[in-house]
Symmetry: C2
Subunit: 386 residues, 2 copies
C-alpha cells in the first residue's frame, strides 16, 4: 500500500459567480491545484468530482468526464461522488484510496457547487434531498429546520444559549476577514446576530451558512511525485469515511452525529494521534450549533462543555488548544455544498505548509471534518506536515 | 495490496416493478448478494451505490446511506457514484479499490434504477443528461438519436446493414429466454425487428434496450473472507475504469469508443490475458449497433469484421470464440441503467462458477464491459475462476 500525500490544493473565490457555470468553477479549481502540485497534466490519472446539487439545477451527468476533457487529461478514470454536503470529503478520500491501492499515480479531487442561480426557495427544497425524503422531506422539514431542532435539543440538554451560538458566528466571521477567498469579509456584532431574520427557531440568518458558488481541489499522489509541490506536500495520516442515520426517526439523539464520532475514532486510531495532538481543525459549521456539536463529537471538549469552551475563546488562535476554522469556516468562507470538504483541505494544507493567511503558529497536525446531510455521511481527514 | 474477489452476487428480476421503489430494489439485491457471499452483515464495511436517474426522478440524495441503514450495516462508509449507464461498473471498481487499499474488508456494491414510472418521454429527456447538455442536449439529441448516428456511420464506413443488427437482437433475445431475471423471455424474428417502430434512423424499437426497473449487487472481499461463498468466489484479475469525450464535437470517430479501447487495453495488460483468453463477455449492448462497436473495441474481432462475425454466429455459444451476452444482454435482460454493470458481473460470476442458466462450457475467464453515456465512462472487469 502506497502512502498518500496532498501535493497541491486550490480554491476559487467563494461567493456569487453569475458569469460562471459549475463546470467553469470546477475547471478553474482543478487547473490551480494541478499547478500548485507541480505535477504534469499527463501524470494525473484519476479525477474525483464531488457535487450535490448539480443534477437538480443543471441536469448534467458525468460531469467528471466533462471536467477532465476541459482540463485535457485524456482517458483518465472519472468518478462523480455524492454524499450531500460531504461530497468533497468523499472525493478526497477516493483520491487517497486510488493512490493507496496503486490504481492511480495522482488523483485530482474536485468539489464544486453553483447554488446562487435558482433562488433561496428552490435551493432550500433541493437541499432537503440530503435528508430522508420519504419521511422528513415529505413532512416539509428543511435543513435549517433540522438544525433548529438540534439547537433546541442542545439548549435543553446542555444549557447552550444565544450567546454561545453568537460566539461561534463572531469568531468565524472574524477569521474570514483574513481569507481572500471568503464570501464574507466583515465582522459581525452580537446585536446584528440577535436582530437577524428568524430562519428556524432559534437559528437566525447569521447562524446559517450562506448559499454560495465555488470550487476547491486537491491533488493526491505518492511520495515519489511530490517533488514539484510549490509549497511542499503534506502527508495524509488518516482519511476515514462513515455513515449515519438519514432520517430523524432513526436518530437516537439530536446532539451528536454518530457518523462524525465513528469517523473521528477511526481517524485518530489510524493516524496514531489524539484530539490533543491536533493543532488546527476545519470542521463543518453549516450552522452555528453544528460547530458546537462537532467540537464535542471530534473529542476536543466534552459535550456539554464545548459551547462554553468556544465562548471562552479556547478554540481561537489565542487559545491554548486546537484552533477551529481559521479560514472562517462555512459561516464565513461560504458553503457551496459540494466544494466545502476540499476547501477545508486547502486551508489545512496551507496551515501545515505555514502559508495560511490566518496562520496557526507551528501547526504540525491538522484535521478536516466534512458532514453530509443530517449526519448521513462524514469524513475525517488528518494531515501532517511532511 | 490485497487481491480482490467477488464472493457473492445477486440481481432482482428486471422489468416493471410498480410496487417497489428504487431503494426497495437496492435493498433486495444487497440482501441477496450478502447472503450469496456467506459473509456476516457485520463484515461489510463499505457500500457503493451506482445510480444515474434517481436524483432526477425521486430527488433522494445520500441513497447509499439510506440503503445501508435499511440493510442494518451500521456506520459503514457509504458512497454514491455516478457515471451514467456505467454507474454500476464504477461501483464495483470502487469496492475492488477499497479492498485492494485495505480500507475495507468487504464492500457491498449495488447498482439500481427505477425508470418505468415517469414515462418514455420524461425518461428520454433525463437520459440526455449522460451527454453534453450544453451542446448535444441543447440541440435536442436523444440517446437513441446518438446511437442512430453511430449506426449510420458504421454502415457508411464498414457496410453493416439491417441483417447484422438483427442478428445481434435475435441472438440476445434468444439467450434471454433462459435467464429467469430477464425482462424479455421471448424470441423475436427478423420480420418483427424490421417492422418495429422507427425510433432513430436506422434504429427501430427492438434495436433499443428497454426502459426497466431493477437492481444488482456484488460483495467484493479479500481471499480470507471468501470461505462462506455459496458457489465459490471468483478472482478479480483486472478492473479498469476510463473516460472519453462526452459531446459529439469532441469525438474523432463515431464507430469506436476510446474509453472502451483504453479500459480494455489496461485490463488485458493488468490481467495478463488477451482477447483470445476470454471465454465469455457481458458487454454493453444498449443498442444493437453498440454491441457491434464493442466487439471491435474490446479486440474480439477487428472493426469492419465484427458485424460479420456476429451474424455468422461466431459470438454465440455454438461458435468457436468468445461468447457474447449469454444472459441476453441489455437488449434481452433489460437495462435499468444504474444496475446494468453489476447485472453483467452477476452473469459472469455465474459463468465462472459453472452455475449459469445459459452456461458456457468450461468458462474460466470472463469479462464485463459497462459503458456510460456516449462513451463518457467505461469499465472493463476481467474475472477468473478461482
Amino acid at each position: 500500500m502506497n502512502h498518500a500525500f496532498v501535493a497541491g490544493t486550490a480554491t476559487t473565490a467563494f461567493g456569487r459567480h453569475p458569469d460562471k457555470t459549475l463546470i467553469d468553477l470546477a475547471v478553474e479549481a482543478g487547473e490551480m491545484a494541478i499547478s500548485d502540485s507541480g505535477l504534469e497534466r499527463s501524470e494525473i490519472d484519476a479525477v474525483y468530482f464531488g457535487n450535490f446539487l448539480g443534477r437538480g439545477i443543471d441536469g448534467q451527468g458525468v460531469i467528471a468526464s466533462v471536467v477532465a476533457r476541459r482540463l485535457g487529461l485524456g482517458n483518465v478514470a472519472t468518478t462523480n461522488v455524492e454524499g450531500a454536503c460531504g461530497s468533497a470529503g468523499i472525493a478526497l478520500r477516493h483520491g487517497v484510496l486510488s493512490v493507496a491501492a496503486g490504481a492511480a499515480t495522482a488523483a485530482l479531487c474536485i468539489g464544486a457547487e453553483h447554488m446562487t442561480r435558482p433562488g433561496t426557495e428552490a435551493i432550500t427544497k433541493l437541499l432537503t434531498e440530503a435528508g430522508e425524503m420519504s419521511t422528513d422531506g415529505a413532512a416539509g422539514l428543511t435543513f435549517p429546520g433540522f438544525f433548529g431542532l438540534v439547537a433546541n435539543a442542545h439548549a435543553a440538554r446542555y444549557g447552550s444559549r444565544r450567546e454561545h451560538l453568537a460566539a461561534v458566528i463572531m469568531q468565524n466571521r472574524a477569521s474570514a476577514i483574513t481569507n481572500p477567498n471568503a464570501m464574507f469579509r466583515e465582522a459581525v456584532s452580537a446585536d446584528q446576530i440577535a436582530s437577524g431574520k428568524l430562519i428556524a427557531d432559534p437559528l437566525r440568518l447569521l447562524d446559517c451558512s450562506p448559499i454560495s458558488d465555488g470550487a476547491a481541489a486537491a491533488v493526491v499522489t505518492d511520495l515519489a511525485h511530490t517533488t514539484g509541490s510549490r509549497d511542499g506536500a503534506v502527508r495524509v495520516l488518516a482519511c476515514e469515511q462513515t455513515s449515519g442515520p438519514v432520517g430523524i426517526r432513526h436518530m437516537e439523539t439530536l446532539t451528536s452525529f454518530p457518523a462524525t464520532v465513528a469517523a473521528a475514532q477511526r481517524a485518530y486510531k489510524s493516524a496514531s494521534v489524539g484530539p490533543r495532538d491536533v493543532d488546527v481543525v476545519e470542521l463543518h459549521d453549516c450552522f452555528s450549533i453544528t460547530e458546537v456539536v462537532n467540537v464535542g463529537d471530534l473529542g476536543f471538549f466534552p459535550h456539554g462543555e464545548a459551547h462554553l469552551a468556544i465562548a471562552e475563546g479556547l478554540t481561537t488562535s489565542s487559545g491554548p488548544g486546537v484552533v477551529v476554522n481559521p479560514s472562517g469556516g462555512l459561516l464565513g468562507r461560504g458553503h457551496p455544498v459540494g466544494a466545502t470538504g476540499l476547501a477545508q483541505v486547502h486551508e489545512v494544507v496551507a496551515q501545515l505548509r505555514g502559508t495560511a493567511a490566518n496562520q496557526v503558529p507551528g501547526a504540525r497536525v491538522g484535521m478536516a471534518h466534512n458532514l453530509g446531510g443530517a449526519g448521513a455521511t462524514a469524513t475525517v481527514t488528518i494531515l501532517g506536515a511532511a
